[in-house]
Symmetry: C2
Amino acid sequence: MSTIQTSTTLQTPAKVISTTRMERRRPKLAEQVAERIRRDIISGRLSQGAMVAEIPTARRLNVSRVPVREALLVLEQDGLLVSESNGRCRVRTLTNTDFHEIYGIRLMLETTSFRLAALQHTSADLKSLQNNIRLMERARSLHKVTLLDLEFHHQIMQISRQSRLLHLWQTMRSQVQLFTAILQREISVVISSVRDVSLQAHQACLQGIASRDPDIAGRCALEHLEPWQAWLRSTRPEGGVR
Amino acid sequence: MSTIQTSTTLQTPAKVISTTRMERRRPKLAEQVAERIRRDIISGRLSQGAMVAEIPTARRLNVSRVPVREALLVLEQDGLLVSESNGRCRVRTLTNTDFHEIYGIRLMLETTSFRLAALQHTSADLKSLQNNIRLMERARSLHKVTLLDLEFHHQIMQISRQSRLLHLWQTMRSQVQLFTAILQREISVVISSVRDVSLQAHQACLQGIASRDPDIAGRCALEHLEPWQAWLRSTRPEGGVR
DNA sequence: TCACCAATAACTGTATACAATTTGCAGACC
DNA sequence: GGTCTGCAAATTGTATACAGTTATTGGTGA
């Protein structure tokens, strides 16, 4: 009993240690468990409000309770779980208010990162972003497009070179993913249109950052997220986030 | 072996369970341990770069390793500890770059909360802030002033009524406290001057929020934090945060 | 004196054990 | 039928055990 059982229906990342003697430590079980539960929540296999108990989870994944406990602690920090007063955990239920909140927080973080990126980027950074755009042009699945989109924004966070900003983003990232996944399940989206909209927006973002003007770059963040805001407002107008 | 030993030199919060059958659960050991280590770091009893190992800490606090492990996980999330590739934890060492970063993140969070507070506050909220100011007028110790200052900003976060903004603030809060504590240890400050400066700034903040204009309120956040920024720049100009 | 190596001590990662609490259910009682 | 009660099962909080890994120390040879 030492590795997560891979026989169930869920796919495994199979992140074996790269043999290239990188300074990469063997991923702790807790991390694997957290990642697995995270995927289950985002994919909807664990539905909102579902209880996530330590013992059944540990049994299901064929590990002891200790790594599960730590995983749950992390997932609670990430806002995917809420712990009740009796210590039990449930998958967080997202309301429309939560959607607005997540949107607002994301706007705050991205505006800051865009501004910093505009001030601090190197030509290599721009190339990297350009590459992401090229990859998205060729993407043929919604999943791939979604991943590349997230990666694009992550790259900009990294370009801003602020470990704490990146950290806050990582904290919110799971919720953003959950948010996106839920929306995609609710509304039927067409791959090509999503990709084209994203591409257009990303190209604008890249230009804004390249301009080295933080105000222009910051406005790009706002404009990129605006469509979501509009859609949210039309769905249910629930107090302004900004 | 079940409660944190209180015999050492460190004071204890003595947060006994309120017998008033509140829906308040008994605080877990992990939380108490985390709080204790947090205090030790902020107060400087645990110096920067010091190793915080599980077994000695568990022995010192007279608990088992499990609560300590969870506490360390939380404190790492809070940015007070960094874990090395071998799994060991050290107290984070703050450089001047970190000071700038923390200042920048705080400015981002506070600007957002000030804007939201301007839009959403009730008269009770303003009364509460006013009360904080009154208490500070009477404060006679630097410690008290510092606590009230933090409480003032915390209140504004709460007024903005965004659980995730509050959560990100809580995540950064320890580092802000550490930041402040270190500065106060480095530069000799006079109680009355700190209090007077804070009071003046807080009064301006209150007015800005009361104006219900998010732009004015946001500018208050900037102006409140500006002195720190100036001081930081004069100490060592290290790349603009904004 | 310095480099190298082995034995040992200490620490982390994970599993298991146990006590206290909570939940759920079955049957008694109104 | 509905509600109360008490027992059994499940779950959490904490402690301990054990294996594998890392740091340390002390000694040996050049």
